[in-house]
């Protein structure tokens, strides 16, 4: 467990699973003091408004716990569905794949370091 948490959603999300994920994740963030959360949804092919809202909620909660959330690898069909549902996920950062998402978080962490001049914050490796 390091600076970043990686959540990979590999099964079809159903509602209870999403709530459980929300619980687990907030727990882990406060436990580990993670600064960044990557949610990889590249194998998620079906979304509904509930899951869409769940993603937005998770992002908002992590932000409250001082961790940046990046949603990575969203499928085109999923993106179109969310837009048609009117869920544009404002405030959620996105990236094309895990690598780019990680670079984004590292970049954010580094600029935070520059501002507060804390040493060695991005040396920790992700999960």
């Amino acid at each position: 467990m390091g600076e970043l948490l990686l959540v990979t959603i590999q099964v079809d999300m159903h509602d209870r699973l999403a709530v459980q994920l929300q619980d687990d994740l907030t727990e882990r963030i406060s436990e580990t003091g993670a600064r960044g959360v990557l949610i990889d949804i590249s194998s998620l092919e079906i979304v509904d408004s509930f899951i869409g809202r769940m993603i937005a909620n998770i992002a908002a909660m992590s932000r409250v716990l001082d961790a940046q959330t990046v949603v990575v690898g969203m499928q085109p069909a999923v993106a179109i569905t969310l837009v048609e549902l009117g869920l544009t996920l404002p405030g959620v950062r996105t990236a094309l794949n895990v690598e780019k998402g990680m670079a984004l978080l590292r970049g954010a962490a580094r600029s935070a370091v520059d501002r507060s001049s804390e040493p060695d914050i991005d040396a920790a490796s992700p999960e």
């Binding site: 690898g73 085109p76 993106a79 969310l82 544009t88 996105t94 094309l96 780019k100």
Partner: protein, 287 residues
């Protein structure tokens, strides 16, 4: 009454098939003289086939062209009409194929039944009815053929109008041409998002230089595309906004504040390169 008349038509078609065919082809050739799009040989093949099929069908005494007896006649006529629709014949030119058969047939009928006005009138009426139905059928098939052509062209146009090109490493461009309606935007959006996944591009430039007008609906479609791309982790830049369109957008109250917009594709490209951290090609040739 009809049976006698049909019998007369069947008899005449059978016994005078050769001369009727010759006269018919001559008539068709004169009416096609100005076009000259069809060779006499091709016309002869089509006419011979059709007339012999018609002759056989009429022998059964049936005059309903929808009946199974006329199945082969319909097929032959359908093929001819469809091929003429593809070749760009006018509907009347296509229908003339059937209608020009009237004169030779009537002439024979008169020769045969000239002495009996009653029988002649009956026979003419049946012949007219039969040929008119066939003529209408031709027109119907012709219309259907044309509709198929139009549908295919629409499909082609839809696919042609959405090219997603790769401009640079990690930079895609989508030059849009023509009016944006819901169906097209859907295709455009899917094509763009698919290419983003395939190429892993971080920046997509949507160039709307070729879009003549922008209304609220178009703007909304554009915003949806931009948002969907953002959800996938790619940034969109809209370029090619002409002065009138800029005015319209503001007058309509469309909020494009969250979207980067540039006047020209070149400006958008420069911004894209800056965002991806690559040097501008105008500054220095890139290795």
């Amino acid at each position: 009454m009809t049976t006698a008349a049909e019998g007369a038509i069947a008899r005449i078609l059978k016994s005078h098939e050769e001369p009727i065919l010759d006269e018919w082809i001559r008539d068709q050739m004169t009416s096609f003289r100005q076009g000259g799009r069809i060779s006499e040989r091709e016309l002869r093949t089509q006419s011979t086939e059709f007339l012999s099929l018609l002759q056989q069908a009429v022998q059964s005494g049936d005059v309903d062209i929808q009946s199974p007896t006329f199945g082969r006649v319909r097929d032959a006529l359908g093929d001819i009409s469809r091929s003429r629709a593809m070749q760009g014949y006018s509907p009347s030119e296509t229908a003339t194929f059937v209608f020009s058969l009237k004169r030779p047939v009537f002439q024979r009928l008169r020769q045969e039944l000239g002495g009996d006005p009653q029988a002649f009138a009956d026979a003419s009426w049946s012949a007219t009815e039969l040929l008119d139905r066939l003529g209408l059928y031709t027109t119907e098939i012709y219309q259907r053929g044309r509709e198929e052509v139009i549908a295919r062209q629409q499909q082609d146009l839809l696919e042609l109008s959405t090219p997603v090109v790769k401009l640079w490493d990690g930079v895609l461009a989508l030059p849009m041409i023509g009016t944006l309606d819901s169906a097209r935007t859907q295709v455009v959006m899917e094509a763009l998002l698919q290419r983003i996944v395939e190429t892993g591009a971080e920046i997509a430039i949507i160039d709307i230089t070729g879009v003549p007008t922008v209304d609220t609906l178009t703007a909304q479609h554009l915003l949806k595309t931009v948002t969907a791309a953002r959800l996938m982790g790619a940034d969109c830049i809209i370029s090619g906004i002409r002065p009138q369109i800029a005015q319209t957008i503001v007058h309509l109250g469309v909020d494009l504040a969250d979207v980067s917009t540039k006047a020209t594709l070149a400006d958008a490209f420069r911004l894209a390169l800056a965002k991806t951290g690559q040097s501008s090609p105008t500054g220095r040739a890139r290795a």
